[in-house]
Each structure stands twice: as C-alpha cells, then as structure tokens.
Symmetry: D2
Subunit: 180 residues, 4 copies
C-alpha cells in the first residue's frame, strides 16, 4: 500500500496541547481533516483564522472530521515558545489539538512548515478521508466556500479502508505501513 | 415516473425578474437548488438572507447549482407589488432569478408559500439534484453549515437522470432512464 | 433677531411619522439636532445610516439632542410613497420623528432636499443649539468622529436663548418670528 | 497648586515604546488624554480595545489629544515581558506610546494598575485638560458614546493653564495662572 502522491510528509511536532496522545496523519485516515497553521502573534490568524478553526471544530468535529492546529513559528521565536502558546490557548479558549511545529536548528522555518511548502500564516490545509491533500491555502478563505469544500469531502467515501491496528493486509496481500 | 415523496409542489409565480424564461422545479432537475423566500420589507431578509443568496449565486451558480428568489408577500401587500420589487431588485443589484409568489384571493398567504408550509421570511430551501427537498429553514443559517450542506449535495450523483427533451414518461411515451 | 447666515431654510414636510406635532427647526432651537436624509430603497441608508440614526436616538435623544429623519425621495417615487414608508418604519422599528420631504411638481428632487443642496442619500446634517448648520455630509460617517462632533456641540452653550412662546423680545427690541 | 481630588496618582512605567521620552500625566496637561490599559494576551483587548485605541490615535491625536497605552500585566507574567510586547506592538502596528506598568515584587498586580484601582483589562481612562479623571471604564465602550465624551472634553477650556516652563508654583516660585 503506497501513499498517494498528494499525501503530505508527516507532521513533526515537538509538543501537543488539547490532545491525550499525539495525533498523526495516518491515525486520522478515514476522517476529513482541517489543519490550521498559525502563529500566536499573527494578527490575521487571531482575528480570522483561529475563530474559523474554532467554528469548524464546534460545527463538524467528530467521527468524520477533525481540526488540528499547528504553531508554525518562523519569526519572534524567543517570545512564542511553548509557555507563551499555552497561555494563549488558555486565554483564547481554543479546544482543538494544537501541535508545536518542530524547530529546525538550521534556520527559522520549522520542519513541517518547510516540508509542506507553506507560504506563511495563516495557512489552511484540507485532507480527504484517504489523507490526500485537497487544499493548501495561504490567507483567509470565505466560510461559504470552505463549508462547500468540506461538505464535498465529507460526502466522498474513502477509496481505501482506514488503517486499523494490524490492518495493513487485505485480500491482495500485506503492504508495508507508511511513515507516521 | 412518480415524484419522490419529499418533492415540493410546483412553484407558482405570477412574474419573474432576472430570468429570460420562468424557471420550473422540473427544469432545474440535475442541479442543486437554493430557494430563498423573502419579502423586500423584511429586515432580516435584507440584512442577512439576500446577501447570503447573492454570495451563493456568485460562488456556485452554474451547471451544477442555481439560486432562486421567491417574493412571498404575506403582509403590506399594497406596498410590495411588482413595481416596488423591481425598484428593490435594481437598487440592491440582485442578479439571480426572482419570482413573485402568486397571490391567493382567499387570504394573505401566497400560493407557493402555503403549499410549501413556510413559516415566514426569510426561509431557505435546498433541493438535491433529483428535486427532493433536503432543507427547509426559517431564519438565518450560518455560512459554514450552509456551505457544507451544499457541498454534500453537489457531491451526490443524481439517483435519476435529469429530464431532457424526450426523457422519462410523459403523455408522449417513455424514455429509458439514465444511469443512477 | 436675524437668522445666522449658516441657518438652514425651513424643513418642508408633507407628512410626519412618530411625532405628535410637526417638528420645526425653530422649535428645536436649544437642542443639538441630527437630521438624517434617506430613501427607504437606498441600500446604504438601510445598512448604515438608519441604524446609526437609531443608535444616536437611543444614546442621546432628550432635552439636549434630537434626531430627525427626512424621507427625501428623488427616484422611484411611485413605490416610495407614504404608505410604503409607513410599512418600512413599522418593520424597521424606527422610533424617531420622520418627515416626508415635500414633492416639487417641477421635478424629481423634493423641496427641502433642493433648498438644502443635498447631494444624495444618505446625508447627515448637524445643527448646533442656535440652529446653525455645522455639518452636511453625504455618505457614511464613522461613529467615533460623529460622536466627537456631537459631544463638542452638546458642550457649547447657545449664543442666544432658545425661543420660547411669545419670546421674540430681548433687551434690543422685538423681532418678527421666523417661519416655522 | 494642589492636585484636584480626582487627579490620578502618577503613571509608573518601567519602559516605553513609541515615545522618544517617557510621557507623564503632568506633561500631558492641556490635552485630553485617553489611557488604554491592556494585556497582549487578553482577547477583548486585542479584538476591541486596541483597535479602538488606534482609531482614536488616528482620528484625534495632536495638540489637543493624546492616546497612551499601558501594559498592565497581572497574569502570565513570564510570557508577557518586554520582548514579547515589543513583537506584539510590531506585528499589530500600534503607533501610540505604550508603557509597561511597573511590576510590584509584592504581588501580581503592577503598581499603576493598583494605584488607579483598575478592575481588569481592557480598561479605558479619560482625563480632561486639567488632568482630572473623567472616566474609568472596565470593558468595552461604544464608539458613539466614547466619541461624544471626548468631544465634550475637547470643547472644554482648561480651568488652569497647562504648566509650561516657569508656570504655576513649584520649588522655584509661583507663576500667574492663565485664564480659565
């Protein structure tokens, strides 16, 4: 079982908030997933993207849909560390899982942001039930358009069964599991 | 070919604006359809529902989707006639087809509004590609939720082929239905 | 007692709503007055100017301040008559006095609108306690700036005593009262 | 020359941004002054109070009016230090002088916030041209009402001349006060 060509490189997070266990893209297979990349000191993130993420979480999160936040700090690193983000999450009452994109000692861009070729914050990614990337959008996106994209993805049956514990095998044989 | 049990009674309009020919529910088969019932002197219609209808029309109208307005006047009849509505449509720059729900001489509620059991204005109805009623909502509805409903309906293939010239059964005979 | 050079020609209204007696500019002397010229089918009036007029009325109307609406119809006359305006005032729950600017048989511009040289709707005029014109603004004006102008005018003492019943006389003699 | 009973205790700031020299309440005499107490991680400050402060600054700041920000941190001290505030001011493009309320080693409430009895953030204070406190408001305040208060204060002449070099009484002697 090979990953589709549009699948994302793995999410590399050094810490998670609002999540009992670190979410993985593979573990989210079967759900439509919205990933909001943001920085806590990015005004458009605070004014528009994070409220939209919270509305998505409130409206749709469940067996079929998940919202994931990713703190992709590429500037002002010293004042947007884990403790600052924790206070921010508390004060803004964000309820969905939020990971800290893993810093890269070679430069200011954190690892996942670089691997996913994000242009800045806010960025919104949508993955279908198979984990395929269906949208990677930098900047604001209208609620009506976003809702329609999500509705279409929710309506689509997965091409493949979601992976379960020990279930890399089907009637055709056994595939090597993809990276987490 | 029987109408599905959730299909709407026909739209009865005495006049149409923004439409070269009177749209009919049958003629719209194959498209997802949003019908906005409103009155030009209804504040919530003017502030929320009609701007949402225009956004829907701008974002989605085409081969797959149509927005229809229906002026369902049930009060202040004397000052919401066709000439007043025409000036309103002009000043608010509404671009989608708008019909005047046919007055019923027996009472204040116009015919389509009564046949569809609408509770007031604004009301929003969504029909799937088969013409089946999927939503009848009185009051405001959030863009994100509405977008998701429309996205789901757009993703669904019609159960039946849209009627074309000579398709289905009518007084002239029966055509072979298309694939589901 | 001569009118100051910046005083407005009289308000000529053919009908009043929300007012037991027709307000006059002379009768409003002593108060700061905001006059909102609008048309019921003007989208910017409905979306911005009339809500601002209602906020002004709710916040400030009293012994020191008055809000007056003026329906200055210069287009679509046939569908913006008195009965249509009455339904509009009822549905939008406007509480302040609203006059119908008197039609001029010679052309589409009503009499007060012409005499005051208004450029269109919405227009907002501010009069100080002496009845002098202090602002005549076409289009939208920001709440903060408008509030500050009103605050300044409220703080100014009148240069002349407000006219009272039979009080056209002062230490300099007796003046003929101006037209209502 | 005694301070009026409504005058504020002095502003105690450990650092200033956007100001070549530390502003003082005495140095601001003669101007109407708006002081916005905020915390950078307070959602209502970010969404409402600071944009309002910026609008005030853009609309009115000059010889007659000044806007002052005061970062009154009473929680999450570790992540709202000077470097974090500097990044915040940069990203939100705040242009008015902003001071850091001086920390009090005895507790979480900083010195000015305690001396002024502020209830929380956002708080807005208005001082008249004499430095007398005219408003101390916790929470949001409407633009129209705030504008009107500021307009009234701007219209009022100072009771006392603003202190200039050699004016008023100080350790060097007494100057004749200006007209009220």
């Amino acid at each position: 079982m090979h990953a589709p060509s549009t699948s994302l490189p793995p999410l590399q997070a050094s810490h998670w908030f609002n999540s009992p266990a670190p979410p993985t893209l593979d573990g989210l297979r079967g759900k439509v997933v919205a990933i909001h990349a943001f920085q806590m000191l990015c005004p458009a993130c605070v004014a528009q993207a994070l409220p939209q993420a919270s509305r998505l979480h409130d409206a749709f999160a469940g067996d079929d849909f998940a919202v994931i936040g990713l703190h992709t700090v590429f500037e002002h690193h010293a004042v947007m560390g884990a403790a600052a983000l924790q206070a921010f999450i508390h004060e803004y009452r964000l309820r969905f899982p939020i990971g800290i994109d893993e810093a890269d000692p070679r430069g200011p861009i954190p690892r996942t942001m670089a691997a996913w070729n994000l242009r800045g914050t806010p960025s919104l990614l949508l993955l279908d039930r198979d984990g395929a990337l269906r949208l990677s959008h930098f900047g604001h996106i209208d609620d009506l358009l976003l809702g329609a994209m999500i509705g279409r993805l929710l309506q689509q049956a997965p091409r493949q069964a979601a992976p379960a514990a020990g279930a890399g095998c089907d009637e055709h044989g056994c595939a090597v599991p993809g990276p987490a």
